[in-house]
Subunit: 102 residues, 2 copies
């Protein structure tokens, strides 16, 4: 199993971010080939250390890291990635990890 | 559902980190009350943007954010949190999120 974690930093206009994210970005992301499950945070992104500076975390599940790489290379993945630049005004960090359960 | 994401930055001695993490920290963390599932990254923590500066990502699943807060307050959670300082020489960021599937 592999996960793409997208850590969206707090944008200039959180309400506009949310509208764009759920109305326009989610449908684009759901079309990405190989996507098995798509989770998003709801409510604040918290930390025991205090403020995180993050607005939303998305967790996209795939079968493998190779499938994530193929997803980024696909037209649907490129459309979703290009869309990020249009609403993630605070920036976003993406992490790609192969995972196993302990 | 809620997740505790632990982003371990690259430590001074990755091999020593791994030994401590899997031999000592994992058993402490698995004892935390309310923990439903425990995933770790294997292999590099990658990013389309290049180097992430991260060595390992742990994803701990709980039923709710309240359960994560209770876990941190428990003796087992406090032992696991105290242990982190003994091996995470590069530091670690912790994120607590309530999640929903789209």
């Amino acid at each position: 199993m592999a996960q793409l974690l997208v850590l969206y930093k707090t944008p200039a206009d959180p309400a506009a971010f949310d509208r764009h994210y759920f109305d326009r970005h989610v449908p684009l992301a759901k079309a990405i080939p190989g996507l098995r499950r798509y989770e998003v945070s709801q409510g604040p992104v918290a930390s025991p250390a205090g403020e995180t500076g993050l607005h939303l975390v998305a967790i996209l599940h795939f079968d493998s890291v190779a499938d994530i790489q193929a997803a980024f290379a696909s037209p649907e993945g490129q459309a979703a990635a290009a869309d990020v630049a249009s609403f993630a005004t605070g920036g976003a960090d993406m992490l790609i990890v192969e995972t196993r359960s302990l």
